[in-house]
C-alpha cells in the first residue's frame, strides 16, 4: 500500500526532506509485512481444507471453507475452556483494578512512612522469575487445601488471586501517575463539601481518571488472558483455561493445523478487538503515568 505524504495537520517545523520520507516508507512497509504475516497465516489457514494445510504452504487457499470453525468445538472442549478463561480474566481484572485504585490513591494523595519502600517493593516483584514462586506457590496452595479445605490448587479462585497480582504493580504505577495529574484542589473541594476521603475518591478522583482506569483494565485483562506458565500447573481438566487448552489440538495424533489456526483466531478476537477499541486510552494512560 503506497502511502502518499500529506502536509501534516499540525504546523511542522519544516518540510521533511525526501530522504526522510523514503526512509519512512521503506521501514514502515517492512515492519507492516513482518507484523501482518502471522496474522495472514492465521486467517487464511483457518479457512483452508485439510489437504491444503497438510501439503506445502500456499499463500492463496484453493478453496475456502468454514468447517474448521465448526469442528474446533468438538475436537477439544473449547467452549468450556473459553468460559473458564472469561471467568478467570474478568474476575482477576475487576479485583486487580479495584485494589490498584485504592493503593494508587493512597500513594498519590498521602505522605506516609514507607511510601517509597512500598512502591519500590511492588515494582520489583516484576523482575521475579515466575518459575521462582511457581513451585512454592503450588506447594502453598496444596498445603492450604490440605489444612483448611479451601481448594486453591486446580481451582479458578487460585488462578484469579494469582493473576490479579501479576498486573497489580504496573497498574498501581500507571494509576499513581494518572491520579497525580488530577488537581488536588478537586478532592479538597469535595472534602470541604462534606465528603470523606472515600467519597472524594469515588466521586471526584475516579471519574476524572476513567481513561487511566480503562487502560489499566485492558492491561490486566490481557495479562490474565494470555498467561501460560501458572495455568499449565494450577489448572485441572475442569478448570483449564484457553492458554493450556489450545495445546490439546497439537497432542492429537496428527495436527489439524486449520483447526489450530481457527481456534487461535477465536481466542484472539475478544482481546484484540478490545485492545484496538481502547488503545488510544492505553497510549494516553502510558503518557500520563510513564514519563514523570
Amino acid at each position: 500500500m503506497p502511502r502518499t505524504l500529506r502536509t501534516p495537520a499540525q504546523p511542522s517545523p519544516m518540510a521533511q526532506p525526501r530522504s526522510f520520507v523514503w526512509t519512512r516508507r521503506v521501514v514502515l512497509t517492512l515492519l507492516l509485512l513482518f507484523v501482518l504475516t502471522p496474522v495472514y497465516v492465521m486467517l487464511s489457514s483457518s479457512l483452508k481444507n485439510l489437504q491444503d494445510v497438510q501439503g506445502s504452504f500456499q499463500w492463496i487457499p484453493h478453496g475456502l471453507t468454514v468447517r474448521p470453525y465448526i469442528d474446533i468445538w468438538k475436537t477439544v472442549p473449547l467452549a468450556h475452556y473459553f468460559l473458564n478463561s472469561v471467568i478467570v480474566s474478568v474476575s482477576a481484572t475487576a479485583f486487580s483494578v479495584i485494589v490498584a485504585i485504592f493503593a494508587a490513591y493512597g500513594v498519590s494523595r498521602y505522605r506516609f512512612a514507607g511510601r517509597k519502600v512500598f512502591t519500590v517493593t511492588v515494582l520489583s516483584t516484576q523482575m521475579f522469575p515466575g518459575i521462582l514462586f511457581l513451585l512454592p506457590l503450588y506447594l502453598i496452595f496444596v498445603n492450604i487445601g490440605n489444612s483448611t479445605g479451601i481448594t486453591l490448587n486446580g481451582s479458578r479462585l487460585g488462578l484469579i488471586i494469582t493473576y490479579l497480582t501479576f498486573s497489580l504493580p504496573f497498574s498501581i504505577w500507571m494509576l499513581v501517575g494518572y491520579f497525580d495529574s488530577i488537581p488536588r484542589d478537586l478532592d479538597e473541594a469535595a472534602k470541604v463539601d462534606g465528603c470523606g476521603p472515600f467519597g472524594a475518591l469515588f466521586r471526584v478522583v475516579v471519574p476524572a481518571a476513567i481513561p487511566g482506569i480503562v487502560a489499566v483494565s485492558v492491561y490486566a485483562f490481557m495479562t490474565a488472558w494470555g498467561e501460560v506458565l501458572f495455568a499449565s500447573v494450577m489448572t485441572n481438566s475442569s478448570t483449564r483455561t484457553l492458554a493450556v487448552g489450545l495445546r490439546e489440538y497439537a497432542t492429537q495424533n496428527d495436527v489439524y493445523w486449520n483447526q489450530v489456526m481457527a481456534a487461535s483466531l477465536v481466542v484472539s478476537v475478544p482481546v484484540v478487538a478490545g485492545f484496538l477499541l481502547l488503545q488510544r486510552y492505553l497510549v494516553a494512560g502510558l503518557t500520563a503515568g510513564a514519563v514523570k
Binding site: 502511502r3 511542522s12 517545523p13 519544516m14 526532506p17 519512512r24 514502515l28 515492519l31 507492516l32 513482518f34 501482518l36 504475516t37 497438510q54 506445502s56 504452504f57 485494589v99 485504592f102 490513591y105 493512597g106 500513594v107 498521602y110 506516609f112 512512612a113 514507607g114 511510601r115 517509597k116 512502591t119 511492588v122 516483584t125 516484576q126 521475579f128 522469575p129 518459575i131 521462582l132 514462586f133 513451585l135 512454592p136 506457590l137 488471586i161 497489580l168 462534606g194 470523606g196 476521603p197 472515600f198 490481557m222 494470555g226 501460560v228 506458565l229 489450545l246 489450530v260 489456526m261 487461535s264 484472539s268 482481546v271 485492545f275 488503545q279 497510549v283 502510558l286 510513564a290 514519563v291
Partner: protein
Amino acid sequence: MTATAPPRRAPEAGPDSEKTAAGRRLRPRVAERLRQVGLPYLLLLPALLAELLIHIVPMVFGIVISFKNLTLFYIHHWNSAPWSGFDNYKAAIKIHQPIGQALLHSFWVTLAYTLLSVGLSWLLGTAAAILMQDTFRGRAVLRAIFLVPYALPAYAALITWTFMFQQDTGLVNHVLHDQLHVTSNKPFWLIGDNSFWAMVIVSVWKSWPFAFLALMAGLQNIPRELYEAAAMDGAGVWQQIRKITMPSLRPVNQVLVLVLFLWTFNDFNTPYVMFGQSAPHQADLISIHIYQSSFITWNFGSGSAMSVLLLLFLLLVTAVYLLVTGRKRGEADA
C-alpha cells in the same frame, strides 16, 4: 528511606467517616490523628496482602526449599523433607558436573537470546516511533496494526509461528525453498541450531510493539517548541532526531530497556509453546530449564536453588544497570 511505622488498622475509616462537625468535636483528638495516619495504610492493605500471598511469602518459602532435598516423596509434608544445606547450590554451580554444565549452557543461551531480542526490539520500536512522530495519511491505522502482536494472546501468536516454522508445511520453508530457492532443501526450524534463531525472531515480533508503545508515549511529551527552535537554527530533520529526540527519550529508554531485559530473560511462554516440555539443546532458556528440572524430575529443591541463583543474577544486573545509567531524574520523591 527510613524504617516504616507498623501499619496500624485505623479504628474506623470508611464510607461512614462523613461525620458532622459536632460529632467530630466530641471525639478525642488522638483518634482523629490515628485515623489520619492509618488511612493510607488501610488503602494499601489489599494490595499488600495480595503481594504477600502470591509474591513475597512464596519467595521466602522458595529460598527455604532450596536448602532442602525436596522430592515428590515429600510433596505433601514438605516440612519433613531433609535439610541438605548448600548441596543444591553446589550441584548447580559445579560447571564440570552434568547439572552445573547444563545450567551454565542454558544461562549463555538465555543471555544471547535476551541481548539479541532486546536490542532488535528496541531498534525497531525506536525507528517506528520516530518515523511516525509527525502525522501522515494512514498513521492511526498503522499504529493500531503495529500494536496487534502486543495485543494477541501470547500462545495464539506463538502457535501460529510454530505452524509457520513447520519443516514440510510451513510458510518459512515455502518462501525460502519453493519461492526464493535460497536453501537446497527444507531445513528444520524447531529442532537443532535453527531453533535458537526461530525463537529470537518470534521474540522480537512479540516485544517490539511494546517498545514502540512506550516510546510513542515518550515522544508525546517532548515540547514542540524545541523542534521549532532547532528548525530556526537551521537543523534538519535528521539532526533534530539526533540532537533533540534521542536525548529526550533517555528516561523512557532507561526504564524500557530494563523492563524488556527482565521480561525476556524470564521468558517462558516462547520456548514452552514452540517446543513443548523439552526445548532443544540450542534453545534451552533458563526458565524452561528450571521448569524441567523441577516438574519433570520432581526435584523441587534443585529447581528452587536454580531459581534463587537466577534471582540473584537479575538483582545484580538491575542494581548495576541503575547505577551505570544513573538516576538523573532528580525527583526527591517519585
